[in-house]
């Protein structure tokens, strides 16, 4: 028996398909095809400036990358940067979220100002901190001199040693992205019922006890998601580095970009892109698992 219900269902299917077609076209053409091409080219010697001779070389590009000191240096620094920034951003962001979650006069104002660093252009953020770190007349030196933390005669060139640059880049990133962390955690905090705090207070719990036994367990899903999102963000770090340093070994994305658009080694760059994508894919899988668990919990 063919019911009108079945007919409606079939009609709905066609309608759904029609709605998805534009998105599917764009994503296939500008996402899936490029990813496939990038995988193919990573197996080729493909040098744009070299008469565009392409030659199949198998895994040679990957072997070259894994053997090169530059790759490992960039990987090490990227990981260092990711761990440092995410840990600090989580701690700072958490306490800021606690502050602006409480009810007080002028809360709207404080919630609005913390968004400023996050909204600023990333590149301008890099330049601003570069400006702050300028030897002699930059704000960092001037403030340290004024507070007598640094003797007037001492005038360090902050960005001189490339091994320390990542720390200074981290400060800039922490300033910019801590608000993002706070906002995600704030959204999580708002879902915690006040009664839990009241009950804890009845039991005589102080600040740290409440934090440890009420806030953190309740906030765990948000914390996990925020951390994974920020790690993935930290892996892309590029803008600040181009401003701070001409050293492409500072991060995986910088190294990849340089191979592609300074030397036009498209094969090598594709292999590098795939190597860093593999790191991220692990995280993406983790993130999706957590989201699925959150969705099931709701």
């Amino acid at each position: 028996m063919r019911s009108p219900r079945m007919a409606q269902k079939k009609k709905d299917m066609w309608f759904a398909l029609l709605l998805i077609v534009p998105t599917a076209l764009v994503l296939v053409r500008v996402f899936i095809v490029p990813i496939y091409q990038s995988a193919v080219w990573s197996l080729y010697h493909y040098d744009l400036l070299d008469g565009s001779t392409t030659r199949f070389v198998g895994l040679q590009n990957y072997v070259d990358a894994l053997k090169s000191a530059a790759f490992w240096l960039a990987t090490k620094r990227t990981f260092y940067f990711a761990v440092l920034t995410v840990v600090v951003e989580l701690l700072l962001g958490f306490f800021i979220a606690l502050l602006i979650n409480q009810k007080f006069r002028g809360r709207t104002f404080f919630r609005a100002i913390i968004i400023i660093p996050w909204a600023m252009l990333t590149l301008v953020n890099g330049l601003l901190w570069d400006w702050i770190y300028q030897p002699g007349f930059g704000a960092l030196t001037v403030v340290l001199h004024a507070l007598h933390i640094l003797p007037k005669t001492d005038n360090p060139v902050w960005l001189a040693t490339s091994s320390h640059i990542m720390n200074f880049v981290a400060v800039a990133d922490i300033w910019k992205m801590t608000p993002f962390m706070s906002l995600i955690l704030l959204a999580g905090l708002q879902a915690i019922p006040e009664e839990l705090y009241e009950a804890a207070a009845m039991d005589g719990a102080g600040f740290w006890t409440k934090l440890w036994h009420v806030t953190i367990p309740q906030l765990m899903p948000s914390i996990m998601v925020a951390v994974v999102l920020r790690i993935m963000g930290a892996f892309r770090v590029y803008d600040i580095l181009t401003v701070f340093t001409g050293d492409p070994n500072t991060s995986l994305s910088y190294l990849t970009f340089n191979n592609a658009f300074r030397y036009f080694y498209f094969g090598k760059a594709s292999a590098l892109a795939w190597l860093s994508t593999l790191f991220i894919l692990v995280l993406i899988t983790l993130y999706i698992r957590m989201l699925k668990r959150n969705m099931e919990a709701n």
């Binding site: 913390i114 968004i115 009664e195 970009f257």
Partner: protein, 327 residues
Amino acid sequence: MSKAGPSVITPGNASPPPQQSLHRRSIRQVWFTPKSNELIPKFWLWLGLLIMAVFTLAPFIYLFTSSISDTPDLLGGRLFPAHPTLYNYVRLLTGNGAGDYLASVRNSVEVAVMTTVISMVIGTLAAYAFARFRFPLRMTMLFGILAMQILPSISIIVPLYITMRNGLSIPIPFTHAFLLHTGSLLDSVWSLIIAYTSFSIPFVVWLLSGYFQTIPRELEESAFVDGCGRWRAMMRVILPLSVPGLAATAIFTLLNAWDEFVIANAFTQTYASKTLPIAIAEFIGKHGMDWGLMTAGGFIGSLPPVIIAMFLYRYIVSGLTVGGVKG
């Protein structure tokens, strides 16, 4: 902040306090004991807020004060200018490179607006389909889209560059004809619009399909009873109710397109298509940085997103909740 712990000790109530110390205790209670449903005592709350405000605002204010400083003040290490001046802004907007800077502003506006409009239109349709219909591979496709949203642009930037260089084409299968064939798109804002659209559509679909699911089906069904088709129900009922979600998504897309640097840096060669971040990056000249121009240009470039974010932060927070955490 780390000293917040010890101060929360509740005052002992063993013996009734003498009249004299009643006043002192009440200050202590007001400032150092949190209310039962709160976490942080007032004193530590305001100390924390003060530190937070300085941490957040100081660099931004420094950017502004630098932009209104003249060169001697800038290079003399003054945090606040002795003689505030709009000299840098005048130079930026009417000087030698003014045309280039203004062109980059125009490009940025074009790219951000077009990207937002196109990805909102296309993405909303798909988001609605994912939210309302059950079809095979629905979840797989959704999570595939989520993975695309997270993947860094660097992983597909090389093939995307070649695509833009050769021009975008949609061939008709099994023939040599093309449905669409553009010329080379490098050095036009369209290369950026297309690239950004492909990066923001996954985001739009993911965020909005989550949002649409929060709108009760009954509302649509009552529209069907009134004789609306699927399409009209979507336009008349669902979209108006989704304005907060749509706004959050559009703001994110707009801010991302305004901010993007990696792809723009690779795809744009001349001021026909350079965006604001690229133009500002170029103030790093061969002969050192022009800090006055940089701070003025950077301040102007950062103002639109900062203003948008400050006024619409409510939407941003709710957008983060729906998209980032709950899925």
